[in-house]
Symmetry: C2
């Protein structure tokens, strides 16, 4: 079963990489770009009986390894 984890900085946490991308876009002439946030997306295959079990397992992986719970939230989607 293929799952997708989106790891994003919590609202209010400064995103220096996003700010750098935004500055670079402005320099290139894309002045309409704003509120740029750079996030991590992890896709993986998981051995699980059904979508609910898969989601629980991946949330457990996220809490143990994939995100820093102090500054990051995560969302899990089961793709197939």
């Amino acid at each position: 079963m293929r799952a997708r984890v989106i790891v994003r900085l919590k609202p209010g946490v400064l995103d220096p990489q996003g700010a750098a991308v935004e500055d670079a876009l402005h320099t290139l002439g894309f002045t309409g770009a704003s509120n740029v946030r750079v996030q991590k997306l992890i896709e993986l295959d998981v051995d699980a009986a059904d979508a609910d079990a898969c989601k629980l397992l991946v949330l457990e992986m996220a809490d143990q390894l994939l995100r820093n719970p102090v500054i990051e939230d995560c969302g899990v989607e089961v793709l197939q």
Copy 2:
């Protein structure tokens, strides 16, 4: 208009970060995890008249800055 860009390594391109995450998951006991790929996800606000214009503009940004066309593909979704 909020848009989302997913920048992923092309199929066949080695993903050392994904391999490291997969090894770490196995070490933690998640032996069912496989085919781990770590990708970039960029969300941004764009000044555009409609969804099609927004998508074209963001693809242009992706080609000029957000992805390395030699090894990376990208997909664009307009969120709202």
